[in-house]
Amino acid sequence: MKDNFSLRIKIAYIFIFVFGAVIATRLFFVQVVHSNDYKELASRQYVAPSAGYFDRGAIFFKKKDGQLISAATIKKGFILAINPKILNDAELAFTKISAVTQIDKDMFFKSAAKKSDTYEEVGRRLSNEEADKIKLLKLKGVDIYSEGWRFYPAGSLASRVLGFVGFNGDKLEGRYGLEKYYENILGRKEDNGGSANSFAEIIMDIKKTVSDNTPNGDIVLTIEPEAQSFFEESLRGVLDKYNAEMAGGIIIEPKTGKILAMASVPNFDPNAYGGTKDLSLFMNPSTQNVYEMGSIMKPLTLAAALDQNKITPETTYSDKGFVVFNNKRIENFDGKARGTVSMQEVLNQSLNTGAVFAMQQLGKEKFLEYIKNYGFGEKTGIDLPDEVQGLISNLNSMRDIEFATASFGQGIAVTPIEMALALSALANGGALMKPYVVERIKSQEGLDKNIEPVQKRQVLKKETSETISRMLVNVTDKALMGGVYKMDHYTIAAKTGTAQSIKSGGDKGYNEEEYIHTFFGYAPGFDARFLTLLYLVKPQGVKYASHSLSEPFMNITKFLLNYYQVPPDR
């Protein structure tokens, strides 16, 4: 009996202990995990029960040393509102408030005249000090409410990647860019918190903590703010210098697919996106537009032929200056014949006929296979919204002329991000990577999620990657603007491209005077840390990309080598 009693009393104790533990668990979620929600609710009601409550996850840039720099955050302020029903002396109120903060006079008196209303907003985004001063005035019928809004501390920096938060119907949510793509992580449900729930909530809280898809979190970008900033300045310089329509580009880590910088100018200020008239500025052309990329395609064509052992850098062919397919004549950029030339010279002098030769050595079927393997015509899967895929369907016709033009980058149009990833395969040993902009999701419930690099497939053999890199380093050292950009201590692989732009309006054919300049390069040439792709749409007064983009590319590359303290490789 005695032992029985002590056993039973132990069971009773355990019962009560579990009760206490359940309460403690609940307290943990209320006081630790969701504490900020309740604090916000509390401060809301201390000021006044306002509907201006706004919360959203933060976005961070990540500096090279790991330091997080705020890219998007919440700023808090106050709404100034009047209650016309009990506001007796509008004149006096206006005079007193005007001494503290600027308010629109007409609007104020118009609002004050609506005597049947109880709530009229007359000022927004007031600072803490202003709100305190107005509260001290103790004006009857003048109220202060707290509010929050999205704020981008870096202004327009990376705005076409970040996007912004705006109203979609009556719902405030991410409209473009990362804000849209990561809406489910950054967005906060308004009704969470403040409601007393049952055990179900405890279980839900635990589930959220354990499970993978955490709804509430912050995101950390792969984008390096210093590099992004330098990149945008350089692009803006080119845009202004050549009075172009747009300048854009991507800096990517070829081995991982991490985007270090992605920009296109002109861009917009997400803090005041309402002032932007041209809505196309909200789009990200690097993932949402397709371009005919021109001669930067040639290294991809040659690499494919090298990979199948159909050519070597020393292979020669006879250049007549033109070739004819399906009654259409294809010429070199200058129309001149060069006689017997090597594949290296095809890259150095950017010979269209040579690219066609390499493609022919490979054969149309194999060429098409490589084009698809490079990821053209396929979404890269980058974590940005509304990505489009390249247009390569004209190759399905198997017409010779389509393949001939495709070999030097005409006739097929691809997105800059597709191009950057395909070119990365030249630099990284032949792997096609999946690009990404967000490298960590910081969960409010505790378990962070790191995004790891993903290799989609092996496109080229490792040796092919080395051979083509050597050829492209040779381009920089010997051929690019006569070799003036050669760096003594670093190998840099690069290639320019100039394409006539598609006539707007859908006619088939090309604009004689409108060009797209492209440029890509990576450094160091045999162990690439970063690959830079630049594109310049409709530059004026300059014909070739080697003239317009070589210098900005070199400046960016020098900056990166210096900033990341990359050791010399020769």
Binding site: Y13, F19, V22, A196
Partner: protein, 347 residues
């Protein structure tokens, strides 16, 4: 026991201090008077041989039962906040259900210990037990004081279990209890309201019965890990109903945060643990059951209070032992401690 005593002093004074800033000095004085009176009662109770409780258990139970009936008598009964739970005695109001709790536990302890052989049978064990509980239940439902009823039902079920009840019987009791609870909320609008609030917090009227729960949660949640700091509660000034009564835990949580709350829960569990050690040493079955009943009722009541503040139990009007303001609750609690002390001495 010294530790348990320290715990009482600690939390009682903490309660007093927390309150000091929240309200008028008259309340502090009143609570102080009750505190002193309670300690006198504690000393007295610790000197009364616990065996006397066994002798007078039935009498005490009937007396408290009678007092509880008095709340319905309009001359002395006193309604407040939608419930009739108080009676007037001179300048003080008194909540007889507090005494009823003690009386009931004492009676149950003596009853179970007297029939420990029969307890396993249905006819002589479970059935009479249920009848006794039903009597008490009836009056508490009529008041209504569902919270105290909950405390009594859970405590008595555990006492029945400790006293030797069969597992199957316990299971039947739990089912029966749930069925009754369901029937209860269907009949009583007051209880129905709160259960509705509990199950469906967002749809319920925010200014009505959902209000207190919501405000309590805001207070608890805004305490965060470390709390706002002693005396810094904002909620207690105007938002939280009954900041020094049933809602005092929310104020405590806001000021002392998660760490303080877990500490408080741990203290209650430690108190129960120390108490159980004492009664395990006692040789007399009545002493054991009485002690266990008292200890469990105190901790369960506190947990029900905390649980309803954090929204895992429907809101009930039970005070947090030692901490809430409430004269009768404090005095009874201290008398109960006195009984435990006596058991530790002579049991």
């Amino acid at each position: 026991m010294v530790l348990a005593g320290f715990f009482i002093l600690f939390s009682a004074s903490m309660g007093l201090l927390t309150r000091e800033k929240a309200d008028f000095s008259s309340i502090v004085l009143k609570q102080f008077v009750f505190g002193v009176g309670g300690f006198v009662a504690l000393l007295a109770a610790s000197r009364i041989n616990y065996k006397n409780w066994q002798k007078f258990a039935l009498l005490l139970f009937l007396f408290s039962f009678f007092l509880s009936l008095l709340v319905f008598e309009p001359h002395v009964g006193f309604g407040y906040g939608g419930a009739k739970r108080w009676i007037n005695i001179g300048p003080f109001t008194f909540q007889p259900s507090e005494l009823l709790k003690l009386g009931f536990i004492a009676y149950l302890a003596s009853w179970i210990s007297a029939r420990k052989k029969d307890i396993k049978s249905f006819k002589f064990g479970l059935l009479p037990f249920l009848v006794i509980v039903a009597f008490v239940g009836f009056i508490l439902i009529a008041e209504p004081d569902i919270g105290t009823l909950g405390v009594i039902v859970i405590t008595s079920a555990l006492m029945f279990f400790i006293g030797g009840g069969k597992f199957t019987q316990i299971a039947v009791m739990i089912l029966l209890g749930l069925a009754l609870l369901y029937a209860l909320v269907l009949i009583k609008p007051h209880a129905m309201d709160r259960v509705q609030t509990f199950l469906n917090p967002s749809s319920a009227d925010v200014q009505g019965s959902g209000y207190q729960v919501k405000q309590a949660l805001i207070a608890v949640g805004s305490g965060g890990i470390y709390g706002r700091g002693f005396g810094m509660s904002i909620q207690k000034f105007s938002y939280l109903p009954e900041p020094i009564g049933d809602s005092i835990f929310a104020v405590f949580a806001e000021e002392f945060g998660f760490i303080g709350c877990v500490g408080l829960i741990a203290l209650f569990l430690f108190f129960l643990y120390r108490g159980f050690l004492i009664i395990l040493r006692a040789s007399d079955p009545f002493a054991k059951l009485l002690g266990a009943g008292i200890l469990m009722s105190m901790v369960i009541q506190s947990f029900i209070n905390i649980g309803s503040m954090v929204g895992i139990i429907p809101l009930t009007g039970v005070p947090l032992i030692f901490v809430s303001q409430g004269g009768s609750a404090l005095v009874i609690a201290l008398i109960e401690i006195g009984i435990i002390i006596n058991i530790s001495k002579y049991g």
